[in-house]
Symmetry: C2
């Protein structure tokens, strides 16, 4: 349970962290458990499969640790989704929240050991993407020209 205690209120967890109502929980939950989780890929994607999660982890790793700053660093995202995905990452122990009572008192996030264990994957994905970004752009361009 441990740091789970920090998050009190199941409504909040279910709703804020997963975006559904408690009445929906059972069906969603059981479905998720039954469906998935024999395949490493799907477990992994459940943790960092969100649209912005890897970008958030990347930002925190680069020292951008506060929600507003992370959001500014990822201009296409909405602040709300940063908050939500940060909360999910927090719930799954990928990040920790450490709002110290120092000046200026603002909440900061840091990577846990689990979060850090994702960094090699992150780096690999990022470098693959960088290596192929021109190719991907060209492919999309070709498609546009055809249309």
């Amino acid at each position: 349970m441990a740091d789970f205690e920090a998050i009190n209120g199941c409504n909040r967890i279910a709703n804020a962290y997963f975006g559904f109502k408690l009445k929906d929980w059972e069906s969603m939950y059981t479905r998720k458990i039954d469906e998935d989780l024999d395949c490493g890929i799907r477990v992994a994607l459940k943790i960092f499969g969100g649209k912005w999660k890897l970008c958030i982890i990347d930002a925190i790793n680069k020292g951008i640790v506060r929600p507003v700053e992370i959001h500014k660093n990822i201009p296409d995202s909405s602040l709300r989704v940063i908050e939500i995905q940060l909360a999910e990452l927090l719930f799954f122990g990928v990040v920790d929240k450490c709002s110290e009572d120092v000046y200026p008192k603002k909440s900061e996030y840091e990577l846990t050991a689990l979060g850090k264990s994702l960094l090699p994957i992150l780096a690999q994905i990022d470098s693959w993407g960088m290596a192929h970004s021109e190719f991907v752009k060209e492919r999309l361009l070709e498609l546009e020209e055809e249309v």
Copy 2:
């Protein structure tokens, strides 16, 4: 253009490969190009970010090369989405279609060099997921108990 020729008909490409109509194309396309693609992570996710794409690549790599077989190998998916995501992977050059005129004449997919370059990432994600699957399950269980 090359193997792009193999895919004839822009309607088909836009609709089957991306699931929207041609009239929507311009806005979607320009948005996509403008938004993304400076960040390796997002380029990469554009290529293999679909729900089942990594599983499909994994299946092909394991020698499960025909759509129906891939679908059977991923029972939670629908055959349709396998077809669509296979077509997208084909379009982005991650897989190749090689329906040889041999008996039995059925379409088969194989990984291209680009597809194979994803295998290390795939392996890393999968092993990370396997290593943490118990933790993830427990986390979900805790949540269930709270509710």
